[in-house]
């Protein structure tokens, strides 16, 4: 076997400490007596050319480059190998600069250490095998989960770029949390006015044909990998055809069954077949199965008979289905929810009347909400005083350690909206810290501070506060022992991941952080990527954020799909992966249990494990774990590593 050692002087960086003459001398006793070629800067343009020319003329079977760190230039030299017509995996680098020349004082000692390392590399490279990068055509389409601001922005932008999108939303409507709101911080923009054009585009715009919206749907299974996922989606029955319904509401009017409307925090009623709220999009009612009198055995067809659009619009026999879609990337935009403030003792949520959390209060403010936008207490009167308690379960080691970042801003939005409707009402903000960052948030804050009927009180710990009923039946807040009446109490609880983030994380194998939000691949460098390649993150599912940031995050996630998955693009798969030698596999499945990427499956017929090379990241953990030695870690085989050990120790 002909082996070439290419020794880089790296100017004086290496030459000062390591004698190339000694390396040439030593190489005579190496296995296969490699030739040694001394170059000055192999990584320079000139050096690369000379390296390539030498490879072409000498035609070695294996190559060792003794130079800088492989982390610097292994890829460079592999490309030279390819350019010279060689398989790039027949190269082994020896790091004689960072790990020898630069850290060893005595040139004699440095030379000796370098020679050992080169001998190890020669021993190893003899056993290296040519490896091929697999090629695979990608699917450019995407699956977006969650139709809040982030998911809608992502889906629409992808469709505008010509991609097909499956948009899966588990509720019967799109819009996410903000469809509950009347007005938005920082500029008190009307929320429906802001969201409706976007939602309209999504449903009926020029690109809507490329968006397959599935409401009342959930992801149930994903197989495959970046560029080639197969998703199974469960479609629950709406019993109303989205395609044919015109949203007239005749069915709801005719429906005999009523229940409390969960969307309005059960503060108003709805029919079994009804809209979630007035103006909902898609503009179609849905049937609550358990509430419909048919579920109690009655043969009621009142809704179907009332429908002016024909007998096919309402299908009372519709059942759940599971559909399969092929996509190249997945965007998680499942958003957030609120921490249950009932977990915070002394706040009175759920046990005292007129105590609301922020989402419930948003509904009270909304013209489509239970009070049609009027701020009132349970007995129907306007509150003379309102307490807004910030940081409920946020910045608190007993609950959630982080600051939710948006609560102060909506609290001052509440301040403005309450003052506008009830100018004489006294508003007290109890806050632990105040967070009003950025160039816009200060306006509402300043307004609150300047409002003579507003008072800001700082507390130290949430346990210093207690909401209770006074003897006269009025609510009161005690802060550090001081009592203040409050006819209405609004709690601003921590923003937490949406319910179900845990099962989605298990299903997709994406990691979550200690607070349960999806973990970014890198919080600064790669905040739109999850820990799984091809699964991206957008919006409040990765941490509390406002609508501006959620929309931006939606766009960022789109960027990854557009940049990485162009139609027709072939992706190359790194061949440094594990492979099971099926003749030696005993079927113990230990490898499956240690693989961090679920890249190994079990063939029950053959009783053998099998590695999916596309999913394998090449860590080699299974190679080491296999008790039968039946797994080969390409490019890091046992034999190669053993040969290197032997070589450096000789």
């Amino acid at each position: 076997m002909k082996i070439g050692i290419y020794f880089c002087n790296c100017g004086s960086n290496i030459a000062d400490k390591i004698s190339s003459a000694a390396v040439i001398e030593a190489a005579r006793s190496f296995p296969d007596q490699p030739f040694v070629n001394i170059l000055d800067f192999i990584c320079s343009e000139d050096g690369r050319l000379r390296f390539e020319e030498s490879l072409k003329s000498e035609q070695p079977d294996r190559v060792v480059v003794a130079a800088c760190s492989p982390r610097d230039h292994e890829a460079t030299f592999r490309r030279c190998m390819t350019a010279a017509g060689m398989n790039p995996y027949l190269l082994q680098m020896v790091n004689i600069r960072e790990q020898v020349a630069w850290v060893t004082e005595d040139p004699q000692v440095a030379t000796d250490k370098a020679i050992r390392a080169i001998r190890g590399a020669v021993g190893r490279v003899r056993l290296q095998q040519p490896l091929e990068r697999k090629q695979l055509e990608v699917c450019p389409d995407a699956l977006v989960i969650g139709a809040g601001p982030a998911g809608m922005k992502a889906a629409l932008s992808l469709a505008e770029a010509g991609r097909s999108v499956v948009l899966v939303e588990r509720t019967p409507f799109i819009g996410g949390l903000p469809v509950r709101f009347e007005e938005l911080f920082p500029a008190l923009e009307c929320a429906p006015c802001m969201l409706e054009p976007l939602m309209g585009d999504l449903l009926h715009g020029d690109c809507a044909g490329r968006i397959e919206l599935m409401t009342m749907a959930e992801l149930v299974e994903v197989t495959g990998f970046y560029g080639n996922f197969i998703a199974k989606i469960r479609q629950k029955p709406r019993q109303v055809s989205l395609h044919d319904c015109i949203g007239c509401g005749e069915c709801a009017a005719a429906c005999p069954a009523t229940t409390m409307n969960g969307f309005n925090s059960s503060a108003s009623e709805r029919k079994a077949i009804d809209f979630a709220f007035a103006g909902v999009l898609p503009n179609a009612p849905f049937l609550l199965e358990g509430v419909c009198v048919r579920s109690k055995g009655e043969d009621c067809r009142a809704c179907k008979d009332a429908c002016p659009m024909g007998a096919d619009v309402i299908n009372l026999e519709e059942v759940e289905t599971v559909v399969e879609r092929r996509i190249g990337s997945i965007i998680l935009a499942t958003g957030a929810g609120l921490y249950d403030a009932a977990h915070v003792p002394g706040m009175g949520l759920g046990s005292l009347p007129d105590v609301y959390d922020a989402l419930q209060f948003e509904r009270m403010l909304s013209s489509t909400g239970p009070t049609s936008g009027e701020i009132m207490t349970a007995n129907g009167s306007a509150p003379a005083s309102v307490a807004i308690i910030h940081c409920v379960g946020s910045l608190d080691e007993d609950h959630n350690p982080y600051c939710s970042g948006i609560c102060c801003q909506y609290a001052f939005k509440f301040n403005h909206l309450i003052s506008a409707k009830l100018p004489d009402t006294i508003i007290t903000h109890y806050h632990r810290e105040l967070t009003v960052p950025g160039k816009e948030a200060h306006t509402l804050f300043q307004q609150a501070v300047q409002n003579t009927n507003t008072c800001l009180k700082r507390y130290e710990r949430i346990t210093d506060l207690a909401v209770s009923l006074a003897d006269d039946g009025r609510l009161q807040v005690s802060a550090h022992g001081e009592l203040e009446p409050a006819d209405l109490v609004i709690l601003c609880p921590a923003v937490i991941p949406a319910a179900g983030a845990d099962s989605l994380s298990a299903l997709l194998d994406v990691s979550r952080d200690s607070s349960g939000f999806f973990r970014e691949l890198h919080g600064r460098l790669d905040a739109a990527q999850s820990t799984i390649k091809g699964v991206y993150l957008a919006g409040a599912c990765q941490g509390p954020m406002d609508i501006q940031k959620a929309m931006l995050a939606g766009m960022a996630s789109v960027g990854h799909t557009l940049a990485g998955l162009q139609p027709g693009r072939i992706i190359e798969i790194e061949p440094i992966t594990a492979e099971v030698d099926e003749t030696r596999c005993a079927g113990c499945r230990l490898c499956i249990s240690v693989c961090p990427y679920h890249a190994i499956t079990f063939d029950t017929e053959q009783n053998r494990s099998r590695v999916n090379a596309v999913l394998c990241h090449g860590c080699g953990t299974c190679v080491t774990a296999c008790p039968a030695g039946a797994i080969n870690g390409h490019h890091f085989t046992n034999a190669q590593i053993m040969a290197e050990i032997e070589g450096v120790l000789k």
């Binding site: 492989p70 982390r71 790091n95 850290v103 440095a110 390392a117 249990s593 080699g620 953990t621 046992n638």
Partner: protein, 158 residues
């Protein structure tokens, strides 16, 4: 050196590509010398280090072996370093039975930025093995049981 008559230990270092090998490069960039006794074998992850590699190194003349991994929680492959820790603990038990001082095998964590820590760990490792002196050759039958193609299941904990 004085306490061991100029004995220069041979040590094998298995460094994972992502953190500790990068930490060694970082130490190199700082150009502060450390003892030359550690010959580096790069692996993609500390989870690839088969205890057999370590035993084999000891059989073939190494006086000590150091495995450097990413810090817990930082492994590029999620949990390879946890496997490395499990295997290391078992290996130490085995070394005890073979009468080999546990200081000869060290597992530590060095991040890509910890050039100084790398330098310190190498100093400590070399000093420790130098104090122990040369490793007596392992009994012959042990070196026979170590083949180059199959790991030792008895110590290769999952």
């Amino acid at each position: 050196m004085t306490e061991s008559n100029g004995f220069e230990p041979k040590i094998i270092g298995f460094f994972c590509n992502w953190c500790s090998y990068a930490g060694a490069d970082k130490a190199g960039g700082m150009q502060q010398a450390y003892p030359p006794n550690v010959q580096v074998i790069r692996v993609m992850c500390s989870g690839r280090v088969d205890p057999q590699f370590i035993l084999s190194a000891l059989v073939k003349g190494a006086d000590g072996v150091i495995v450097l991994a990413c810090h817990p929680g930082d492994c590029h492959y999620k949990e390879g370093n946890c496997r490395a820790l499990q295997r290391h603990r078992l290996l130490l038990l085995m070394l005890e039975q073979l009468g080999i001082e546990k200081e000869r095998c060290r597992l530590d964590y060095v991040s890509a930025g910890e050039g100084e820590k790398f330098n310190r760990v190498i100093h400590e490792m070399v000093a420790a093995v130098r104090t122990l002196g040369p490793l007596m050759p392992l009994p012959e039958h042990d070196s026979h049981t170590i083949r180059s193609d199959a790991p030792m299941s008895s110590v290769a904990a999952p």
